[in-house]
Every structure is written in C-alpha cells, then in structure tokens.
C-alpha cells in the first residue's frame, strides 16, 4: 500500500521534473541563437554595413544598404496589397458571422495561413514573373502580401468582435446604416487592435526568404523600381551564408542581427498594444 503511494508520488515528481526540463530544453536553443547572432553580428554591424552597397567578390567591406531599403520596399508593397483586402474581409467576417460566405472565407484564410511560403513563392512566380519574363520587386511584394492576408483577416475579425455590441446597437438605434455604424463607430473603436494585427503580420513576413528567392530575386545595386529585381535583407543573408567567404559570413550575421531586431521590434510593439487593448476591454 505504502509502496504504491510512494511510487505514484515518484512518478508524479518525475513528470513534473520532465515538464520543467522541457522548458529549459526549449530555452537553451533560444538563448544559443540570440547569443550567437549578437556575438557574431554586433561587431560587424557598422555604419558602412547599414549604408553601403555590397562589394564584389574578394574585396573586403561593403554593406547591405540596398538590401535594407529593398526589404522596406517589399514590406511596404506587401502591406499595400494585404491591408485593405485583409481588413475589409475581416469586417465582413465580423459583421456577417454566420453567413455561408463567412464560413468559406474563414476556412480559406486558415488554409492560406498554413500554405508553405515556398509554395506561395511558386504561385507569385507564375502570376507575376512568368508573364513578364522578369523577376521584380512587385512579384516579391505580391508573394509577401498573400502571406499577410490571412493573418490580418483573422486578427481583424477577432478584434472587431471584441468591440462591445452596445456600441453597434447604439449607432443603429440612432438611425445609422450598417455600413455607417461599422465605419464611423465600430472600426474606430477597433482600430488600435487592427493596427496590432497588421504589426503581427509584418513581423511574420519581415523575415521571409523562401518566397523571395525567385520573385524579387536579388540585386547588387540600389534600386527602387518595382519592375526590376530588388535586393532584400533575407535573400542577401542567405546568399552570404552559403558563400565560402569569411567576410560575407560576418555580414550575414550582421544582417541576421538587423532582421531579429526588426522582428522583435514589431512583435514587442504588437504585444504591448494587445496588452493595452485587453486592459481597455476588460475595464
């Protein structure tokens, strides 16, 4: 009798111990990755790195200035494509929750969210590169935009649903049309939340490489033209990482530092915004 109880206690303690160990096991690689990125990346993160063009093979120095600008352009393009579509679709889902279309759209958004980014890249290649037989910034923006859409759709829907129904009822009671109620009462109330959703989506796509490999491709020079190939931080890090040159490896680490910084910034902004929203709605 006592023996079984002891054994059960021991099993329980072992299981609890395993759970603690699991947390440690997950945090070790996280710590390792952040440590190495900062250790290797920070020393290489010079002013030249942030502002200069890459040097030709064999020459030391140079930077990823054009890739940083390129990534910003690509992210902006993706946002321009995804934000309007995502928000309006999200409004539809929140307003006509039970409709048949809403069910289909919700499901499609979940499906799209799970499609591997490399497959989105092939699709963007087929519709935006092949017809013009040219890699372009626009094709890269299309690929990233498609990835953003489902995230924005679902966060918009969720956050609109958080707006107290009394606000909508009040607006409708005052004689506002449904559209009027949404655009002048509900949307403004949910706006901070929706911006948060956009930030979450930006954090997701800012580090994407695979869909850009054969859409935006790469470019060794400054370029802001949408119908031309454009450099991006992620593709540049990839190219440098698999190259045989030490100097390029150093720059790849520096690029990774910038990437992690950008992603962390977006995530932290989104997180604090979500916190504030939750407090607002609970109050």
């Amino acid at each position: 009798m006592n023996g079984t109880r002891l054994r059960r206690r021991l099993v329980s303690a072992a299981a609890v111990g395993f759970c603690v160990l699991s947390v440690v096991l997950a945090l070790v690689p996280l710590g390792f990755i952040l440590f190495f990125v900062l250790k290797e990346g920070l020393p290489a993160l010079t002013f030249d790195f942030l502002t200069r063009l890459p040097k030709p093979v064999g020459e030391q120095g140079g930077g990823m200035g054009n890739a940083i600008v390129g990534s910003s352009i690509l992210i902006a393009l993706a946002g321009l494509i995804a934000v309007p579509i995502g928000i309006v679709s999200g409004i539809h889902l929140a307003e006509f929750r039970a409709g048949r279309l809403a069910t289909v759209v919700r499901f499609a958004a979940d499906v799209l969210n799970g499609v591997p980014s490399i497959v989105i890249g092939i699709f963007a290649y087929s519709i935006a590169v092949m017809p013009f037989s040219r890699f372009s910034a626009l094709a890269g923006g299309v690929a990233l935009g498609i990835m953003m859409i489902p995230i924005i759709v679902r966060t918009t829907e969720e956050l609109l649903n958080l707006v107290p129904p009394s606000l909508r009822d009040g607006a409708l009671a005052l004689g506002a049309t449904r559209a009027r109620a949404v655009f002048s009462v509900i949307l403004p109330a949910a706006l901070p939340g929706i911006l948060t959703g956009v930030l979450v989506a930006l954090a997701r796509i800012a580090g994407e490489t695979a869909p850009l490999l054969f859409t935006a491709f790469n470019n060794r020079f400054w370029s802001a033209r949408l119908n031309q190939p454009i450099a991006s931080l992620t593709v540049q890090v990839y190219t440098y990482a698999i190259s045989p040159y030490d100097d390029w490896h150093r720059q790849a680490w520096a690029g990774a530092t910038v990437l992690i910084g950008a992603v962390l910034l977006f995530s932290l902004l989104a997180r604090t915004a979500i916190r504030r929203l939750e407090r607002m709605h609970h109050a």
């Binding site: 759970c19 997950a26 690689p29 591997p116 490399i118 497959v119 989105i120 290649y125 990839y238």
Partner: protein, 308 residues
C-alpha cells in the same frame, strides 16, 4: 419616423454593404483556388510525362530530363517525423508546465520566450544551423562508437550536414506551435476534470494525465499543426540538409527535402519540363499541408466546441 420608403432604402444599403465587403472577402477563397489551379496548370508537362512514377522514381537528373521525386518526399517525411518525435514530448511538457505548474509571475515571461522561438526568422535558424549546429552535429557524429556506426541508422562519414541536423533544427522551430495550441487545449479542459481527479486522491501528474486524456483530440491536432509547419519549412532545412537527392535510412546522411529542392533549383530550371517537375513537387506539398492543417483544425475545433 421610419417610413416604408426609408426602411427599403436601408435594407438596400445593408445589402450593398454585405455585397461590397463580401466581394473583397471572396478574394481569399479565390486565392486558394487560384493557387491550386495555377500549380496544376504549371505542372502538367511533368504530370503527363511521368505520371505516378514521378513519386516512386529516385533518379533526379535535370540534364538527361529524368525527374523522380522519391528522395525529396522521403527526406521531407523523414525529417518531419524525426522533428515530431523530438519536439512533441518537449512541447507537451512546456504546455503542461505553463498551464498547470508554472508560478504565476513566471508564466507570462515564459509564454513570451517560447513565442519568441516562433518569431525568429527561418533564415536566422539556418545561419545558426550552418555555423553552430552543423559543426556540433559533426562532432557528435565522429564521437559515435564504430559498432553503432555500422547500423544503417548511423551509416556514412561524419559530415554534420544531413538529416539529423535538419531534424534537430526543425524540432526547435516546431515546438512553439505545438506548445501554444496544446496549452490552449489544456486551458479549455473543464476544471472539474482535474478537481475530480484530485478528489479521488490523484497525484499532480495523475490529474494532469486526466486533463491530457480529456483533450487528447486537441493534443493530436496540436501535434499535426506542428507537422504541417515542419513539412513546409524551407530555408533552415535547405541550409543544413546537404543537397543529396538520395533516400537513405541514415540520420548522418546528407539528403534533400521537397521545399529545399524548390528553393535551391527553381531559379536555375532551364527548361519547361524541369520547371514543371519542380512545380509538381510544390503542388503536392500544397495538397499535403492543406490536408494536414484541415485535419488539425477539425481536431482542435472539436475540443473547443465541446467545451461550449
């Protein structure tokens, strides 16, 4: 105040609003359908030429125009299953710790840190993989005793790059996804399940096991969600898998995955057949991930709706 005329106008406006936003929302399912159609269309050459042999043939020779995708599908499944094997216990451990065991002040920071694992870009995992993980794996491989290395599972020279490195990096990347869904599921298990167990004199672990059992479908869903992520993961795997289109049982052998071959060869595909073969690999990856994700959603959703 409301005259019939006015309410008629309002009804029309309401219908217009519904139609207008609906038309935009329709783009989302159209996009999914569009991807399916375009990928099918652009892989027709390869589908016609090779048929089902494409999936069992192991020869991948772009120069001779012979394309068999077996090594890629093998590598994708092998690395993903290895990742699942390594990540599932850890992810569930984390989920249990965060839902049942963690001291309150630790919980939020730990949730944030595990989510951070999901936020790190794939390319950064890959960079770390090349310069830190692969050398470490190489050391482990060369320290493996010779009698073990004679087993098919550990055959081959200690290169570092290969299936083991890919599986390890994938498992780290998958953990946050599985853990966060599993945690939601554990939270959704009604309190009376655990309370009942405690009332019957259960230990802590026995009560937790009750909760895990109660939410088993959702837990399955969480694991499958992780699987979906692992199957489609591209950059990190591409950088450490070793580019060898040879299916092998060995964990130490360099291999290849579906996503990696697309990433690596797509922009070099010189002729249409080559391109169509790569698109066909993408099409199958698309179908597999849709099936896996849908099943995972259904499992998770069922637990959620039972609770309501």
């Amino acid at each position: 105040m409301i005259t019939p005329v006015a309410s008629g106008r309002r009804a029309r406006e309401r219908g217009g609003f519904r139609l207008g936003t609906g038309a935009v929302a329709l783009l989302v399912p159209l996009l999914v359908a569009g991807i399916a159609i375009v990928l099918t269309w652009d892989s027709l050459l390869s589908v016609r030429q090779f048929g089902l042999r494409f999936w069992v043939n192991s020869t991948w020779d772009p120069v001779a125009g012979i394309f068999g995708a077996f090594p890629f599908i093998w590598g994708t499944l092998y690395s993903s299953l290895l990742a699942l094997l390594l990540s599932t216990p850890i992810a569930l451990g984390i989920a249990v710790f965060l839902s049942d065991l963690s001291p309150r002040p630790l919980r939020q920071p730990l949730v944030f840190l595990t989510e951070l694992l999901a936020a790190i870009p794939s390319i950064v995992y890959g960079l770390w993989g090349i310069f830190v993980l692969v050398p470490a794996v190489r050391r482990i491989e060369s320290l493996t005793p010779p009698w073990l290395r004679r087993l098919p599972l550990f055959e081959g020279p200690p290169l570092g790059v290969g299936l083991l490195a890919a599986g390890l990096i994938l498992s780290v990347m998958v953990i946050p996804f599985t853990a966060s869904v599993a945690r939601e599921i554990l939270k959704a298990v009604p309190a009376n399940q655990r309370e009942g167990a405690y009332a019957l004199g259960a230990t802590r672990w026995e009560a937790i096991r009750m909760a895990l059992f109660y939410g088993r479908q959702g837990i399955m869903g969480a694991v499958m969600l992780g699987l979906g992520r692992a199957l489609g993961e591209t950059m990190a795997v591409t950088m450490v898998i070793g580019y060898a289109p040879r299916a092998s049982l060995s964990l130490f052998a360099p291999q290849y995955t579906m996503a990696a071959v697309i990433a690596n060869e797509f922009s070099e595909a010189a002729d249409d057949l080559y391109l169509h073969a790569l698109v066909e690999i993408g099409l199958v990856l698309f179908i597999i991930t849709i099936v896996i994700n849908t099943m995972s959603r259904l499992l998770i959703w069922r637990v959620g709706s039972e609770r309501a």
